[in-house]
Subunit: 405 residues, 2 copies
């Protein structure tokens, strides 16, 4: 308690001491005795107008408005749940409008009994809820230097976390009956691009969900309403949205998304690519302070960030404020769940000296987040996906924070 | 696995078997090859238009639109997180609009050092995130029989659950320095009614939070933006929204909300009231099937519901489909967190016979949800708040579910 008191005392340079009752009534002027807004305007609640700047940010690689990415504003978020209205998106052909009463899921191919499920069928079956992160394999394009102006929304915003509810895919496949020799599952979406990926049968039988709900309510349209695949820890694009078909087979289908896209060209191989590198590796980032923020005033402040691993639970997060010369262990907010964002926090006093702020995560399988140099050395100059290196923010004497990666 | 297979096999009366590939393409017609909606329309995402009926329901005890209750549609929700746009509300004077840059929190009274905090001050301090339910003490007005048409939104909808982030009140009070003889805290809101409650100092020093965020983003206006008190397990009205003042004192202040309201007149006492009965006791309710729903078709379906206790974690939930003659243990979805909604589930085959469906929760302190008769016998004919008895739904041969409480 003594050390906690010490931490806080220093922080209270920020809070004003009040001379015994001189300002007896605090709070905002003008609300006393005045009626506020009526109930249920609007019936489905919205954020405060004062939070209007907390929105997703758009990135269009082409001129087609249905193709692109929207990024989650991690710098403004707290805890681990991402509000569904701020979940990142990656679309290949825009958001289809699907009537759930007309939507069906077909399971066919190397099965004893092909099956077709309506949404009503699926909603009757045994359900499970899990809190898991989703991350795009293209998140953090930091293989090459990014602008100093980049925010954590720019560098890490293809990352979100929700409570998902659905049916275990293993239960559906058990009913269809897997034929001998089957090793892969083709998952197909009902968007205009018919987004299609091959998934190892072992993953489908392990922890895969056919999910219909997100953060308590039915999926948002942008997240696959009324049905999506959820493959905990696998790169986002494999978690097929608007899921309409699962075909069981002996070998992967070599779709466009696993040949021309979402593969990793590896160094010293004559241009050969690593394929089916599904798992999002251990990673972390400091969200406060982060790029674009300005620290106002010296003294106590808390360093906060997020850590995650597609292989399991976060075991440890270390934070450095001197560019990696020394490290301190951050506290992890419980419950620390597997394949889930974990919020970490470290008390800190900033007295105005320049600082370089890093975080380094370790998961419960012993995987440690690599340095940028180590990752680039391993993956080579043509790397594009699966960047998970330690990230650096630079804090100037002025309090201005910039990207240093 | 054998029993799981048996459960599901029966359920697949619902799913259509498909003759080997005759219907090779499933899903919704009309999306193939068509571009969907562009990204970021709107920038802050909204539910599917097909979910337009999943909204809060209004109850106004007077003609004043700023006074009333909005109820969470529990029958349509999954998992444990309540979407912030569907969180229940209880307002005494409407929703004030508060500029966070002008909002301050005063701590004064029996303290060594009165303090005033801006929102910036609070956001710098050590933070904590917890998933907790909130329930209005007036939830479930079932002391007397409710209409057969009542839904679970009507009977239990003043109940929601969020991930809350804020500062430990104990940390703030430690800085102010509690004077000898102090035992209570007065908490005051900045709404037009200046909603005010007396809180035991022991609670304030235990697990109370001064919360600024909910489900990842800043509080919704209806939930106290920019600052509220969060008292895990205490009746909703004590979790003062738009929190602007905390006064430390020796005795409770006997505000309107703890004399004329929010007290329990007890039987055989000559009209004396139980006061400061803060804790929401162990409780549960089946949400599927529930009042207003119609079961379509016989065979497998899952019985689902929610259990919670203001005293700790849920230890056990039993379900009966024969009006309490026999009970079976439901599965609890993990992680089972203290003072948090817990989702329970039980596989069930319904073959068309009438059924009376009940659930009974037990918490980790050994408290068991009482029967209606036992609760009424204990609390008497003038009871109004703190109803937590076992709830019954009646299922007819037609599949129609009605309230039986």
């Amino acid at each position: 308690m003594a050390s906690r008191r010490k931490i806080l005392s220093a922080g209270l340079g920020a809070a004003a001491a009040v001379m015994g009752g001189r300002r007896a009534v605090a709070g905002t002027a003008g609300t006393e005795g005045a009626l506020g807004a009526p109930l249920l305007s609007p019936p489905y609640g919205q954020p405060s107008p004062y939070e209007a700047s907390v929105v997703r940010k758009l990135w269009h690689p082409t001129s087609i408005p249905q193709i692109g990415v929207s990024l989650t504003p991690l710098q403004d978020l707290h805890g681990i749940i991402t509000p569904s209205g701020l979940h990142y998106e990656r679309h290949h052909a825009g958001v289809p409008s699907i009537d759930p009463d007309r939507h069906e899921l077909l399971i066919h191919g190397m099965v004893h009994r092909p099956l077709m499920f309506t949404m009503d069928d699926l909603l009757r079956l045994p359900s499970v809820s899990k809190i898991h992160f989703l991350e795009c394999s293209g998140n953090s394009q930091l293989w090459k230097a990014a602008p100093a102006t980049a925010t954590v929304q720019d560098t890490h915003g293809m990352l979100s976390c929700s409570e998902w509810t659905g049916v275990r895919l293993a239960d559906l496949l058990d009913q269809a009956g897997i034929a001998p020799g089957a090793h892969w599952v083709l998952a197909e979406g009902a968007d205009g691009a018919a987004m299609t990926r091959s998934i190892p049968l072992a993953k489908a039988l392990d922890d895969a969900l056919v999910a219909y709900a997100q953060n308590g309510e039915m999926l948002r349209p942008e997240q696959g309403f009324p049905l999506r695949l959820l493959l905990p820890g696998f790169e986002g694009n494999t978690n097929i949205k608007w899921l309409r078909r699962l075909k069981i087979g002996a070998a992967p289908w070599m779709t466009r998304e696993e040949t021309s896209k979402y593969t990793d060209i590896m160094p010293n191989t004559g241009g050969r690519a690593r394929q089916f590198a599904f798992i999002m590796e251990v990673k972390s980032v400091v969200t406060t302070p982060s790029g674009g923020q300005t620290l106002r005033g010296h003294g106590f402040r808390e360093i906060r960030g997020l850590a995650w691993s597609g292989r399991g639970a976060i075991k440890r997060v270390e934070v450095s404020v001197d560019g990696g010369a020394t490290w301190r262990d951050a506290a992890l907010q419980g419950p620390v769940l597997p394949i889930c964002l974990t919020r970490f926090r470290l008390p800190w006093h900033w007295e105005g000296a320049p600082a370089t702020i890093l975080s380094r995560a370790t998961d419960d399988h012993g995987n440690v987040q690599p340095t940028h140099d180590a990752l680039v050395a391993e993956r080579g100059p043509a790397a594009y996906y699966h960047y998970n290196a330690i990230h650096a923010w630079s804090l100037a004497e002025t309090g201005v924070v910039t990207n240093a990666a």
